[in-house]
Symmetry: C2
Subunit: 215 residues, 2 copies
DNA sequence: TGAAAAATACCGGAAAACCAGTAGCTATAA
DNA sequence: TTATAGCTACTGGTTTTCCGGTATTTTTCA
């Protein structure tokens, strides 16, 4: 994998000097010409984007940053500059964290314990326009933890239906009219939903449902 | 990739007979011993799992099924049998669809226009405990469409804070107490949030926010 | 075919959310 | 140094949700 050398430009956002040094060294060994631009905080990098208007490019972002967290940073980067390719570089090894990062526009995820070869391979994948997950990240994504499902309440068909309408902002009366049932019935379903999700409002119920892909 | 032959068992859920035939042929060429079990509807497959209690194994699921949609089927399969490895096999090429599938526990996603080699490669990856995305799926995941971000309302720090609390089911009074502001202020933020998201209730606002990774 | 689960429906009352409009005070960026 | 954006706060009123308890009718499945 070290064979195909070329010229690349890459930004790194991480508050650990050692990590910055290490990455730079690895990259210099792997490519003929590397120019790295390092930042210690998310704010610095956002300013850089605003100023220089860097349309495209690759950036490695640590998830634990002093000012803002990497997930939020990722979304802001993508908002300001959708062409920028964001790779997460983190210790977090939970499936949900990887999912969130991808949902917010990241093109890849590298665990910090990845080998040098793996890092280079991922960057090459990213340059090639593919999603770049390190080996361990791929394995984490492949096996969602069992408990993620067994503890969730089982909703009936009608409850799911009402939940969807509630999440669309409809009132009980409106839902009742649409489904040709009494508003009081809809209210009953609402209460059952809140009880099943163990929450105090439908707003919270919608959040939990969304978190678990029920909506 | 056709070199490493071995014995595999695989289930396929698809209502197109041609697809079932095609997949079986490809698999038989790629592996020494293949046993395929085919189903035309989601319900049939769920019954099979309930009966036989198949703890593990690989299943290819089409997203467009006559009875239930593949995303919902995936979550039900994972609920009944978390050890089962689900690969989506579909024509849908939207990033959001792939994300939803992964969020509901799928271990991979194959576009239906994938080559035979690609299908086999993905199944091998899945057998190896990795996430399996076909080439095109990887590319789709790598580049989230630009418009996904530019049309979203920009929330202020305070608004995000209130949104989080609302999504947790807290009342305006409770939030106000916690943030040391007037309940009336919280109400104002609520209204601004609804206006920005262009929805009629906070419930709907939470849904939109969740859909876009803002929570 | 019988038990369990689901869907339907009601009452009365308290709490909270939503609506429309206004406005001062503060930090920040052009 | 002005705009501008964001945070704060108010009045007064309407609508909706949420809570408690109960109960009949379908549907489903063992």
């Amino acid at each position: 994998m070290l064979a195909d050398k070329k010229k690349i430009t890459i930004a790194i956002v991480d508050d650990h000097p050692i990590v910055l040094e290490g990455l730079q060294k690895v990259l210099m060994q792997a490519y003929d010409y590397v120019s790295t631009i390092c930042f210690n905080t998310g704010g610095e990098f956002l300013n850089f984007i605003k100023q220089s208007g860097t349309g495209t490019g690759i950036v490695l972002i640590d998830i634990n940053l002093p000012d803002i967290n990497g997930i939020e940073l990722c979304r802001q980067v993508k908002t300001l500059s959708p062409g920028t390719c964001v790779l997460a570089f983190s210790n977090h090894n939970e499936r949900s964290t990887i999912m969130k990062m991808l949902q917010n526009g990241a093109s890849g995820y590298l665990l910090k314990n990845s080998s040098a070869d793996e890092v280079v391979a991922c960057i090459n994948e990213a340059l090639d326009g593919q999603i770049a997950l390190s080996r361990e990240a791929k394995e984490i994504m492949a096996k969602p933890s069992a408990r993620d499902w067994q503890e969730l309440p089982a909703l009936t068909k009608r409850e799911k239906e009402i939940l969807k309408h509630v999440a669309d902002g409809k009132t009980s009366a409106a839902i009742a009219a649409q489904l040709h049932v009494s508003p009081l019935t809809v209210e009953t379903h609402r209460r059952n939903l809140m009880q099943k999700f163990n929450v105090k409002s439908m707003t919270a119920a919608v959040k939990v449902a969304m978190e678990n892909g029920l909506l």
